[in-house]
């Protein structure tokens, strides 16, 4: 008979899984799968790729489980695994891109910098599902580089210099991308369009 793991804490499940108990690992996957998938989706904004990479992250997690020392929570450790996979994936994609989207985005960033600041909370007054859809669309209008900076900063709570090292760019570029991404996100959420600015 299968053991019921639903009331067992993560740390104990990790110990069981480290001994080769796949049922304990399955419970960990069930608990954290939405977060791991959401992190991949935030960076890639493609359902199929996010699904594949999040599953790959779990496979890697199983293989490296003995390296998990419990310095952070298991969920945090797994988000690092999936973030690294996404970064590798984006690097490979970037090599295949024929033109530099990044350069275009840095240029268009100037528009957002000059936007008037309205005293409005872009997330106020919206239902959560509607808000999610808007954020999804807004993220889709950011380049992978801008989304990555946002995710690494806002979710992984990485400092500018850590992000710069991870992404292989300068701290100035990180600051600029972060600023542009935040303002564009805020603008899109508030329903602003560039045409309205003219």
């Amino acid at each position: 008979m299968n053991r019921d793991y639903s009331s067992v804490e993560d740390a104990a499940l990790v110990r069981e899984a480290q001994q080769g108990d796949m049922a304990a690992f399955e419970e960990l996957v069930a608990r954290h799968r939405d977060k791991i998938y959401a992190r991949a989706y935030s960076m890639l904004r493609n359902e199929d790729e996010a699904l594949d990479l999040s599953q790959e992250a779990w496979v890697k997690g199983w293989q490296r489980l003995n390296q998990f020392q419990g310095d952070s929570s298991f969920g945090t450790w797994m988000t690092r695994v999936v973030i690294n996979l996404c970064l590798d994936h984006l690097r490979k994609q970037k090599r295949h891109r024929s033109e530099s989207i990044e350069a275009l985005d840095e240029e268009s960033g100037g528009v957002e910098r000059q936007m008037p600041v309205l005293e409005v909370n872009p997330t106020a007054g919206l239902e959560r599902q509607e808000l999610r859809e808007r954020i999804d669309r807004a993220l889709g209008q950011l380049s992978p580089e801008h989304r990555t900076v946002l995710v690494l900063h806002e979710f992984q709570e990485m400092e500018y210099k850590e992000i710069a090292k991870t992404m292989g760019c300068s701290i100035g570029t990180v600051m600029s991308r972060l600023f542009y991404a935040r303002r564009k996100l805020a603008a899109l959420l508030a329903g602003w369009k560039k045409d309205d600015m003219k």
Binding site: R39, L51, R113, R132, I135, E154, A181
Partner: protein, 174 residues
């Protein structure tokens, strides 16, 4: 309106990336200037928005379907790993010797070098000059010279890695 450099500095303040003195200065500006305050609020809103976004995002697959993909992959990898272990040929006698000989040779070289160096210091202190030389290009060789008695001793670690490779290629060992 703030220029670009100031906007980025405000962002750095909000992200806790400024030194305390500059941060205090920006805090005063936030309190006093509505434009700074509004831009600050807008920059911080992305954090809230992303938190909602991730909280509302779900795996677009059932628990069983999602897990079965992971389990299948794990099982495939473990089977492949087990198969590799089964089909791996046992180490040849030469490979077994090499496993121990190379580290033992390196350890012996350092031991002898240490003994000679100690000897060199003692001889120098007693007014009897000797010299120990080690070449960077050949890390496995040491030369000992005793000038007063006219002795030169060259110590080489043997067999060298290259020679192992040559032996391997001759014997057709992968």
């Amino acid at each position: 309106m703030m220029d670009e450099a100031k906007q980025l500095e405000l962002q750095a303040f909000l992200d806790g990336e400024l030194p305390p003195a500059k941060a205090a200065d920006w805090q005063r500006r936030m309190d006093a200037d509505p434009e700074v305050r509004a831009l600050g609020a807008q920059l911080k809103a992305s954090n809230e928005a992303l938190a909602i976004f991730e909280a509302e995002t779900r795996v677009p697959a059932s628990r069983d379907f999602y897990w079965s993909g992971i389990r299948r992959q794990i099982e495939l990898l473990e089977k492949a790993s087990a198969r590799r272990h089964e089909t791996e040929p046992p180490l040849s006698w030469l490979a077994r010797i090499r496993q121990y000989l190379v580290p033992a040779g390196v350890a012996a070289a350092f031991l002898i070098a240490g003994m000679l160096a100690t000897h060199q210091v003692r001889m120098a202190e007693s007014g009897h000059p000797v010299r120990l030389e080690a070449s960077l290009t050949s890390p496995g060789s040491f030369t000992y010279r005793d000038f007063s008695s006219g002795i030169t001793l060259v110590w080489l670690s043997y067999p060298a890695e290259k020679e192992f490779a040559e032996i391997d290629s001759i014997l057709n060992i992968p």
